[in-house]
Structures are given as structure tokens and as C-alpha cells.
Symmetry: C2
Subunit: 103 residues, 2 copies
Amino acid sequence: MAAKDTLTILNGKWKIQIITTLNYSGKLRFMDLLRLIKGIAAKMLSKELQDLETNQLLKRTVLSTNQLIVEYELTPHGKTLERIINEMRLWGKLHRKKITGDK
Amino acid sequence: MAAKDTLTILNGKWKIQIITTLNYSGKLRFMDLLRLIKGIAAKMLSKELQDLETNQLLKRTVLSTNQLIVEYELTPHGKTLERIINEMRLWGKLHRKKITGDK
DNA sequence: CAGTATCCAAAGGGATACTG
DNA sequence: CAGTATCCCTTTGGATACTG
């Protein structure tokens, strides 16, 4: 199922937040993401970034090796997720209204 | 995050398949779903159906109690998921092409 | 028929300490 | 700075047997 694939790729507790944060801010360094995404641990950030990079949704660039500096940014392919994430956001809001308003 | 909510609701190994199966076939009984969704175990089907019912995405109807017969069908709210599932399917296909075509 | 109960293995994810 | 390693708890999901 292609739909399930999409779900699997976006799954993980922090992926959507990472993607939307990068989509909003452009290029960010590891520490920036760690600071902007409240509650995430370095281990999880690292792991989720690797997953996303494997799926070619973001690009990792080492800017400097002696004083280690790394930047992350969405690829064009990663940016194509914006549309579907927006749809999810809309449906999620609709759903909340449905659930809370119904009872 | 509303987008994450949508993901959470659709998550679980079988939810999308259950939804699309019901969306395609209309009303189905427990055994029908068990037969149509290859590989699912009764425990999982039961649990996923309960999750979906809790979120008001489907309706469970007992047709007979002496000879126990139960039918499941999507609610109108559940049917609103069709749009977003289709978007996921489209993006999933795009992604496969991207990944396999790239290397 | 339509489930539930039990047991278990694997994956997900957090806290903390450590490294090039 | 940008991670990795370790430990450990929780969640997910499968197999099998049982029930009203």
C-alpha cells in the first residue's frame, strides 16, 4: 500500500515537527533543532534525521570539520510533503471539532 | 499538532486497510473483514475496529444477538478520510518513483 | 459468529553518560 | 558542536487457545 508507505515514512514521534520546523526555518544546525523542538533528546533527533535523510527528504551538509558544524535542510522532494502535512493538519482540526463538539 | 493527531489515528498496522476496505465494500461483518484483509488476526482486527469506533470513524451494529451478527461501516466522518488517504497514496507512489529512479 | 485472554518477541522511545 | 553508547521501560503486534 502506497498510502501506508507514506504513513510509515512520517511516523515516529518527531518527524512531522522536524519537517515543519525545517520547512519554516530553512537551514538549521543540529543544536538549533534540538532547541526549537521542545522535549526531543539528541538520540531521537539524530535517529529521526537519519531516517529522513535515508528517504531523501532532507540533506545533511558538513560545513566545517575542525570546529564541527552541520546543517540540515529539506530537499525539494522533502518540500513536496508540505501539501500532505497541511491536509493532515486540516483533517486533524476537523476531527477535534467533531469529537469535542459531538458529545 | 493537529497533523500528528491525524497520523496517530491512522496509525496501526491495519487501519488504512480496514478503512479502505470498508469504504470500498460498504457494510461488512467481522468475518468478512477477517477474510478480506489477508494476514490480520482476530485480536488485531478487533482492537483496530475499536480504535476506529472510538474515533467515530466507523459504526458497529449488532444485527442479531441469538445468532450473533455484527456489521461495520464507515460513518460520514470516516468517509472524509478518503481524500487524505488518496493524497497519501499519491505521495507514496511519487516517493517510490523518486527512490527507485534516483539511484 | 464475534470476539477475549494470555503469553511473548520485537520495536519505539527516554535518561544519562560518553566521544571525536 | 554533533553526535553515539548503554540501559531500561513501554508499546505494538503475532500465535494460540478459549468464550458467550
